[in-house]
Symmetry: C2
Subunit: 325 residues, 2 copies
């Protein structure tokens, strides 16, 4: 038994501490961790459970954490096992607002069927969306069948998350007229569901009006199916049943039409492309000689004596010919 196979066993058995440890291993950029991390994923990928993955987006302060907390509780009541992952590539700018996730999700953090990964550095290490795909797979292998991926900020991180999930829930703040007009149409239109949150108490009526006008505007601009626009108060628990019902309908529809399976296949394809890229680039880190060759080629391009395609091609040719000497 290796370290990785012990850990894989514990993760698959539902041990939450083991899952945390596994995620840390998979997210690590240390050279020594790469081999066991790969072994762990190789063992756990075939036993990963089919899950429904929900991306939750929206500006800071929209109440995403509270919403996930309440919605996750509702799902657990239905027998689901819930994992919450946070992707925050902009954490340096937003002041690391996700750091407090675990404490803010008071409901879920006391549930045995929930796993929360407050991962403020996720996505920072490595400069990309990090290892979100890998972390999702680990959670699925640990038996979680409803995965929330929470993302802060707009743009690239959201696009990347959208490519990894089954459904994107955009959380808007009540009375967010300004926010709406400054939001790129694409963000609104790429959502599968839009929820106006914080329709608390007396504010509810005004929020309903916002929802009506957004529905009208989306209905006009979008040729294909417009996203449903819901109004809710995560704080008071209003509208949560309707939202949960809408998500279950999304999942059922996707399964019935086979789009869930198709999407999963496409996502795995993208995962493979990214992993292959990384593995190919990683070759140059395997020996000082190769590292030096790569640096020399880069230098030739930087100084302008060699074109990039030429330098790259020569480097690859050298790499492939190397073993045959």
């Amino acid at each position: 038994m290796t370290f990785a196979s012990d850990l894989a066993h514990a993760v698959h058995g539902g041990d939450r501490r083991a899952l945390s440890k596994a995620i840390t291993l998979v997210e690590s950029s240390k050279a020594d961790d790469q081999e066991p991390a790969r072994e762990l994923l190789a063992l756990l990928t075939p036993v990963a459970r089919a899950s429904f993955r929900i991306g939750v987006t929206g500006v800071p302060g929209a109440g995403k954490s509270t919403l996930i907390d309440t919605l996750g509780g509702r799902a657990i009541a239905d027998g689901r096992r819930v994992a919450v992952l946070a992707v925050d590539p902009s954490s340096r700018e937003s002041g690391g607002s996700l750091l407090g996730d675990k404490t803010r999700m008071t409901h879920l953090s006391s549930e045995a069927s929930a796993f929360i990964r407050p991962s403020p550095t996720l996505g920072v290490l490595g400069g990309t969306a990090g290892r979100t795909r890998e972390v999702i797979t680990l959670c699925e292998a640990a038996g979680y069948d409803l995965i929330f991926v929470e993302t802060v900020g707009v743009g690239q991180s959201e696009e990347r998350v959208a490519s990894m999930v089954d459904c994107v829930l955009l959380v808007l703040l009540a009375g967010a007229g300004d926010e709406l007009s400054s939001m790129k149409r694409g963000v609104l239109e790429s959502a599968d569901l839009i929820a106006f949150n914080k329709a608390d108490g007396e504010r509810a009526r005004g929020v309903e009006a916002d929802a009506v006008s957004l529905r009208a505007s989306l209905g006009i601009s979008r040729a294909s199916r417009a996203p449903d626009v819901l109004v809710l108060s995560a704080l008071e628990g209003r509208g949560i049943d309707v939202l949960w019902g809408a998500l279950l309908k999304e999942q059922a529809e996707a399964e019935r039409r086979g789009t869930l399976q198709l999407r999963r296949a496409r996502q795995r394809q993208a995962w493979f492309e990214a992993a292959l890229q990384e593995a190919l680039q990683g070759v140059f880190a395997t020996s000082p000689e190769l590292t030096a060759l790569r640096a020399a080629a880069a230098q030739d391009v930087e100084s302008g004596v060699l074109s990039a395609p030429e330098a790259a091609q020569r480097l690859v040719t050298t790499l492939l010919a190397r073993r045959s000497d």
Copy 2:
């Protein structure tokens, strides 16, 4: 003399038809064209002239083409040689508005010192920003020392272009209050110069007011140097001298502080990274056996039996061990 070296000679000699042919070759995705394209670039990169590259961004209809036409004419009067490239990854959506560039730039298209590449497919082939970097190099080798890269749309294409140029000029429409509020702050703040265009005739006064309020808002929000905000009418030629002066100042400043050289080095580094990626991926297209190995690995990941990092690592190991058999 090979085909590529003949072509390189003609391009370097300033033959515009040869330059067009060279660009087509470099943009080609045909397998047979890759080798001569690389040879061409290898020959021309060392003789590429130092240039100043200006990215021109803004929504369709802002008058970018007319502005480039007028501004380019002004630059030619100063002895510069001007190339205009269009990058339009969203051409399918915007209806290929760039198709008519050459005819809309009536001034420049009659100039011996100007080269216009109306390239509606640039950036579509290959799914990325295409070969813009390579095309810029060809233009520099042909002696053009002022390169305009015009881009339509927002987001990714603009970010990519910004990484290839020395200065980003954002063209805004006069009376664009709505446009401004829906524009992401990042787009405004990442510009080096902002020009309100179409301040024609009686509209000039209103546009001045827009500029004043934008200057104030940028001055407040941005800690570092805020972009200059100019008002002009490309149609009437008003403000063009001021804009040209501002661009020359940008260039002189960047040269004086050494940022131009630093930036060029960083750009070449990025070019090398991209080219290396492509060359590595390209290895699998060099033989039916490798293509089949790659497809089999992808299939294992898609069906869920193998994790992506594991499949990728095995494939790379096989690739490297192959020649030593």
